[in-house]
């Protein structure tokens, strides 16, 4: 049987090759789509990081502020991947007598968290007297390079290094380093903005952990971000699902067509073997085995090609690599084997109805 199979495959080389190509394509498409699909949610969630914080931790009593080790606790509770930045707010007066919100923060953390901030020049971490001026606030100070502010009678001179454009409330504020803020105003950070990666389940879990570690604080999700992200990720996911099914169906039909044709082409062999006394099941088993061997070969080639395609698509679109996943192999194998089995058995059903005598006569 093995020798017969080998001969049959080698003898009809062109046909076997086209069937093998078809099965390789189907395996490649299945691999690529499944690999992408498996990675889709985390990739999409990653993109949503650009919206900034999705959880806000606020001190219950703003005058007291958050505990000193708040940031460490947040990092511990929210996970290593989470980004967080602390803020402290105070209302100071500019040299022109306009009240303005002064915010103390850690510039490096903010920069990582709020990618949408458009800043001409970020202040250096080393210099404690540098400031970032919101574009609206900047219009209410006399000298941007030498900003003179007063808080409860304490004057402070800051060097504005750049302007901040956000289109939001931040435009009306002046941001200064946290250490300078604390020594100047005596206030403590009162808000920590946290960006928890992942879907709403992860966010909820992180909120629960944060609440546990910081009983005194109010931990709230930024509702529109969490809800919106979930909605869009779910919808994109569903869209991809539809696309994957559609493409898989298209490829399956073409593979079916190619394989069926190759089996139908051999109806004379079939008739002859039947005339020689081969039973229906022996013949079916032969066709089936042949198709399955081809399907297996297709999976091997298709996995490599499909993984490469997934990697390329992911590089092009998300600029991050999607590594090959061995986890998709069983599913790809299953898909390919069932296509092959169906393609082999479908024409056999047609063949069964044919009379061997008529076939051999050369109809």
């Amino acid at each position: 049987m093995g020798a017969m199979l080998r001969r049959s495959l080698v003898h009809r080389r062109a046909r076997s090759l086209s069937a093998l190509v078809a099965l390789t394509v189907s395996a490649a498409v299945a691999t690529a789509l499944l690999t992408l699909y498996a990675d889709l949610d985390s990739k999409l969630h990653h993109e949503f990081r650009s919206f900034g914080a999705n959880v806000v931790v606020t001190a219950a009593d703003t005058s007291k502020g958050l505990p000193a080790d708040a940031m460490d606790r947040v990092h511990a509770a929210a996970g290593a991947d989470a980004q967080a930045a602390e803020f402290g707010y105070a209302v100071a007066t500019t040299d022109r007598g306009t009240p303005v919100v002064v915010a103390g923060t850690d510039f490096a953390a903010v920069r990582g968290l709020n990618s949408w901030w458009k800043v001409d020049a970020w202040p250096s971490a080393a210099d404690a007297t540098t400031a970032l001026l919101g574009q609206r606030a900047a219009q209410f100070v006399g000298n941007e390079r030498n900003v003179e502010l007063t808080f409860a009678g304490h004057p402070m001179t800051l060097h504005g290094v750049g302007r901040l454009h956000t289109g939001g409330d931040e435009d009306s504020r002046i941001y200064i380093p946290m250490t300078a803020f604390m020594t100047w105003t005596g206030a403590k950070p009162s808000i920590v903005e946290v960006q928890v990666p992942g879907g709403s389940a992860q966010v909820e879990a992180a909120i629960a952990r944060l609440q546990q570690t910081m009983p005194g604080a109010k931990v709230e999700p930024v509702r529109q971000l969490v809800e919106g992200e979930k909605k869009i990720v779910d919808k994109t996911h569903a869209l991809m699902y539809g696309a994957v099914l559609l493409i898989a169906l298209t490829v399956a039909v073409s593979v079916l067509a190619t394989l069926s044709a190759s089996v139908l082409e051999r109806r004379r062999d079939f008739a002859l073997m039947k005339a020689l006394g081969g039973s229906q099941s022996t013949l079916m088993a032969m066709f089936l085995l042949e198709a399955l061997v081809l399907a297996l070969g297709g999976v091997v080639g298709g996995y490599v090609i499909g993984s490469a395609a997934a990697w390329t698509i992911s590089q092009l679109d998300f600029h991050t690599a999607t590594l090959p996943r061995l986890g998709v192999v069983p599913l790809v194998l299953l898909v390919n084997l069932s296509i092959a089995a169906f393609a082999a058995l479908f024409p056999v059903r047609v063949l069964r109805r044919l009379e061997p005598a008529a076939l051999l006569k050369g109809e």
Binding site: W116, T250, V253, I313
Partner: protein, 446 residues
Amino acid sequence: MFLRLLMESFRRQRRRKALAGLAILLGTTAVTAMLALATTIGDRIHKELATYGANIVVYPAADQLEVKIGGVDVKPVSGGAFLHESDLKKLRGIFWANNITGVSPELPVQVLGKTGTGADVDAAGTGLWFDHALSNGTSASGESALKTGAVTMHPWWKIAGVWPREDHTTAENAEVVVGSALAERLKVGAGDVIQVAGQPGNTSRAMTLHVVGVASTGDSLDNGLLLPLNAAQRIAGTPDAVRRIEVSARTKPEDAFARKDPDSLSPKLKEIWYCRPYANSIAYQIREAIPGARAEQIRQVEQSEGTVLKRISGLMWLISGAALLAAAFAVSAAMATTILERQAEIGLMRSLGASKTTVAMLFYAEAGLLAIFAGGLGYLAGSGLAAWLGARIFEGDGGVALHSLLIPVLFPVVVALALVVAIAGSTPAIRRALTTDPSAILRANV
């Protein structure tokens, strides 16, 4: 005879044609559906992204500095500059007017009064449009109707009860909803009233506010009152005044060109810049349309939306490409199969003296007819599928009717693609059949 040959081949060999036809049909269905979804994905995702609220904010250029911490006005501004509510109609006149999908003006007002049980009320009120017809889509100007307001712009707001109706505002009465935190503190709910005293020493009026619901917004507004804009103007004594306007616009993600300062560009480039739906261009047009206004993109929303939109539509296009490849493969395989099945026929025609060109023409014509027919059907099926998928996935956007997915431009594109693929897919098989010795084919007992 050529036509007869074609016709009979279609009429009497339905099963064989069905295979190739099915492959083309499925292929074009997949491609049409994917392309239709990919071209409309921008609008759909934009609609979903509306969840994040406005992407452009408009405020008076001569405004005072806001002193807000965590969304709460620490030092409420009294007086200050305002925009005119009556100017908002002009938003419908700008170049990208039809890209503006939402407009929500705001007027903060301090509400001082008493509840029905006698508790004192001192809360921040916000005057808003809830469901306001900004334009009723007069056919003469060709603009579409736009009913908008804070509710559609903030889909994450939740209401127990109903939103206030601005046409119920009279000189003495108005409907109002109470923020959830405030409602808890004041112990008021739907059906209660808040008697506004009016502010002594200025033009503000006394009013009776009828609570029609309790709103949960998830931010500082939960500590205040939401009331119709006209009622807020009446209480504040500033008719026609608006402090701030949030605008939601469909935009093109920002690129390097979008970041250019339009006034530094050459007139020609400026026109190009002006005529692209960048958030910056739309903001620029709003500044032009509304006197004394300053319009800016809300970068958190606009920039991030741009990224998400780019990724998702990029993904859709790449998947469409994959669908196209898969479909091309499917169609070529099926075409090759059907032709190779008919090698004997080709051999016979050759022996009857048909030239290679004639035979090739015949088979190409068959492939072409099949491609046009099945491709056309596939286009319809794909459009239907896209509509169905779109409706299933993006439910509740009832506005996307079938006609918007029956993209006519796609029809020639898809059918041409089907033609090209069918013909290209047939070529190797036809060539093989023609180069094989006809006598060999005739003897092969196929």
